[in-house]
């Protein structure tokens, strides 16, 4: 044990980035071993996109106008499942307390969890997108802008979702509370992501898509900044 009471027992230099990466590494390592979260998200996402495909018997024109919405509803539902499970793992064995006991700024925990949640969501999206392409055959699927929107929308969704799942997991009704809290707040992200995706898929001029992209970027920044500022208060009793 250290004799000098003022001497730090761990290195005093800021460990912020190291802590962020440690949390992300831990989540990825645990998940790639158990595959609980990813398999649940993936099966659910594929089921949702299939259900939409068979329930919406649309002509080509109508189909083009709704498929972006179908895609984002699929991502949002699967994402909620993942966010809930990701925080439940921390809470069930008291691990959230273990994280909070670390001598780092607590926002590092938020960013670590958000990064791993984003990674899980992107993995699911990479698998779901080819299925979406086969089922709905959208015109401009390979537009780089479309994939950019997927990334921006996922960042916004995960930014607010990680914060709210941390709040929800501390309640008895965590499974039902997260979607109730999340969906109203994430509407701006979903609306702008759907509109921008639709714009790219239907080949609209970039000038008509840029306002939605701007909105998406602004909401991403706002949600990340807000989460950075309030996470400490959310996790402390």
């Amino acid at each position: 044990m250290s004799e000098n009471p003022k001497a730090p027992t761990s290195r005093p230099a800021s460990n912020y980035f190291g802590a962020v990466m440690a949390v992300t590494w831990k989540d990825l390592a645990a998940e790639f071993r158990s595959r609980e979260l990813l398999s649940a998200m993936l099966i659910f996402a594929l089921l949702v996109i299939l259900v939409f495909n068979f329930s919406l018997e649309l002509d080509r024109e109508a189909r083009e106008s709704v498929t972006a919405g179908v895609l984002w509803v699929t991502f949002a539902f699967a994402g909620t499942l993942g966010l809930n499970r990701s925080m439940a793992i921390e809470k069930d064995r008291g691990c959230l307390d273990g994280l909070l006991l670390a001598p780092v700024d607590r926002s590092a925990i938020y960013f670590g969890k958000a990064l791993s949640n984003l990674a899980f969501m992107l993995i699911v999206e990479v698998i779901v997108l080819p299925v979406y392409f086969i089922l709905y055959n959208p015109k401009n699927f390979f537009s780089p802008g479309f994939f950019g929107v997927i990334l921006l929308g996922s960042i916004g969704y995960v930014a607010v979702g990680t914060l709210l799942s941390t709040m929800a997991v501390q309640t008895r009704t965590r499974d039902v509370l997260l979607p109730i809290l999340l969906f109203p707040l994430v509407i701006p992200v979903l609306v702008s992501a759907v509109q921008a995706s639709k714009g790219f898929l239907s080949g609209l001029p970039i000038g008509e898509i840029v306002p939605w992209l701007n909105l998406l970027v602004v909401y991403d920044v706002i949600f990340i900044a807000a989460a950075f500022m309030v996470f400490d208060f959310v996790v402390e009793e």
Binding site: P5, K6, A30, R33, G94, G98, E237
Partner: protein, 232 residues
């Protein structure tokens, strides 16, 4: 090492701690006893910076809470009845992860030392979810001492352990205390507390109702003292 003055903790309209005063000298082993609902866990959560005091002063190793909570956390090791470990990581990976959170130098060497200390070197590459409750609790202690803290807080560490595991935990706790750390432990197991602690504080209705040292109490008198204080 630990100084608490007029600590009040409220959850909404419910007041759990009602002006609690408490202090622990360096190297002391204090057993915090009391009935269910007395506020022991709430008090330990405040000391470990997981909960914010409503009113009052708390300082640990010269740093005040909640203002200097990161400095306090660097000097604090916490073990609760929950293991605070990831079941899908191995014992070694769990310690590596927490070591990275504490930014520890020479982490691999430290992990080896700690695994040897808690007797889990042979199981280092096994997933924690395959461990018995007793092994998980030993690893939890390993996690808590990994960064060489000056102060250790134990919240009901014996919960769910069988006789053999409890005796093994006794040995680990004695070793932790013998290294000169300041220890505060909550427990309902008076017999066990009596063999480990140098002082006994009884928490009742949100305040320290009585305090006695091992020396002043003598051997085998803790139960009578406890009953007398609580009027049981």
């Amino acid at each position: 090492m630990i100084i608490v003055k007029k600590l009040i903790k409220r959850f909404g309209l419910k007041t759990v701690l009602r002006g609690l005063d408490f202090s622990v000298e360096k190297g002391e082993f204090v057993a915090l006893l009391g009935p269910n609902g007395a506020g022991k866990t709430t008090f330990l959560r405040i000391l470990s910076s997981l909960s914010r005091p409503s009113l009052g002063q708390v300082s640990i190793a010269g740093y005040s809470l909640p203002a200097q909570s990161a400095a306090v956390r660097r000097r604090l090791g916490v073990v609760s009845h929950m293991p605070l470990l990831y079941g899908d990581l191995t014992a070694e990976e769990n310690l590596q992860f927490y070591g990275r959170m504490y930014n520890l130098p020479e982490l691999s060497q430290r992990v080896d030392e700690v695994l040897a200390m808690v007797g889990l070197s042979a199981r280092r590459r096994d997933l924690v979810r395959t461990f018995s409750r007793g092994m998980q609790q030993r690893l939890a202690i390993g996690r808590a001492v990994l960064h060489d803290p000056q102060v250790m807080l134990f919240d009901e560490p014996y919960t769910g352990l069988d006789q053999d595991a409890s005796e093994m935990l006794d040995g680990v706790l004695r070793r932790v205390a013998a290294e000169g750390r300041t220890v505060v432990m909550t427990s309902h197991d008076l017999a066990r507390a009596e063999t480990l602690a140098s002082r006994f504080d009884i928490l009742s209705r949100g305040v320290i109702a009585a305090s006695a040292s091992q020396a002043s109490l003598g051997t085998g008198n803790l139960l009578d003292f406890y009953k007398q204080v609580l009027g049981a």
